[in-house]
Symmetry: C2
Subunit: 209 residues, 2 copies
């Protein structure tokens, strides 16, 4: 059965879920986790409260669904970049920043992740998915850098640093710094990473000759 061959009921259900998700994302980005109430999502999505709670019985269910959707989005983006080959490596940091991190979607994801630290039911629901996402996403990005010559372990750290750096920039500096200053930090990080990879390549050549 193709995904285009959906019954009318399934179609409606999916439409509804999509509308609710995107309303939730907008609300998360604008108001944060706790002030994103079910009522508010209902208003924004222009659906009835009963309908929303039919598909997502609790707020935690809704948030977990949103988180999984956003994980999927991030993985698709990484795959797309990996598929682009060398062209993808060009200005990867800046593209990642602008297309992935500096978006309402990632702001929403950050809200959910931050909330998961203190809301243990939410944490329990998304922990597994989050771990999978980290692994898949990292594997995808490691492929992008592998040609650079370092071993996977170090590349893995570089990827983690990039990711954490951008999250940190959002939480921290985006509050008070202008875009220009933030981009300078990212450019410097690009330079630092390149210098390091060159040094590792150098070292590798010396030891293998």
């Amino acid at each position: 059965m193709a995904t285009t061959e959906l019954s009318r009921q399934q179609q409606k259900s999916q439409d509804m879920k999509r509308r609710v998700r995107s309303a939730a994302i907008a609300s998360l980005a604008e108001l944060g986790y706790d002030r994103t109430s079910i009522k508010r999502v209902v208003e924004r999505a222009d659906v009835s409260q009963g309908a929303l709670l039919h598909h997502f019985p609790t707020k935690t269910d809704l948030m977990a669904a949103v988180a999984e959707h956003l994980f999927g989005r991030a993985v698709r983006w990484a795959r797309m970049m990996a598929g682009a080959g060398d062209a993808g490596l060009q200005s990867l940091t800046m593209r990642s920043w602008k297309e992935q991190f500096r978006t309402d979607e990632y702001a929403a994801l950050l809200e959910i992740l931050t909330a998961a630290r203190t809301h243990k039911d939410l944490h329990a629901r998304i922990a597994g998915t989050l771990r999978d996402w980290h692994d898949v996403n990292e594997a995808e990005l490691v492929r992008l850098f592998r040609e650079a010559g370092a071993d996977d372990s170090r590349i893995s750290s570089i990827v983690a640093i990039s990711r954490c750096l951008m999250s940190g920039l959002l939480v921290h500096d985006a509050l008070v710094r202008d875009e220009r200053e933030v981009e300078k930090v990212l450019q410097d990080w690009d330079a630092i990473r390149e210098t390091y990879l060159q040094a590792v390549r150098c070292e590798h050549k010396l030891s293998s000759s």
Copy 2:
């Protein structure tokens, strides 16, 4: 008039504020921003609700006061490290992680910063202080690295990267990764930074000879 020469009233007032602050920090770290209610802080601090609201008329006032206290704490730590000279540079990253970031105090600060993105009244209250803190803290840490030979601009970026990296680790990886994995990323960052600084020193020598 020395700070030890406080009137009885001022003494009581300061004691009360300190108790409330530390109760708020504990609650922020455990429950997050929105679920840290006035009532809960009142319980934890074992003061009356009226007393708390006398010193901090609104929740925003309380949170702003907590944020300023935590900014001050971070600056004091940086100054202490800067005062230690070379001994301070040793394993700065790991000490910073363990003594500053992986603490309830920083978790509380992260909650406030995250909340400030969506609570605009809180944002308005702490934006100025946050900016000052960034500047002072960075200036202090730049001093620590200056001897390494790079120009201030690049060092400033390194400091920003370190800070954002650790915040990102807390938000992101600390949810699902164990301490060992997180520390490996930090160690790799240390190595990357050192490689970069060496390369910059090298380049500098070549151009000045």
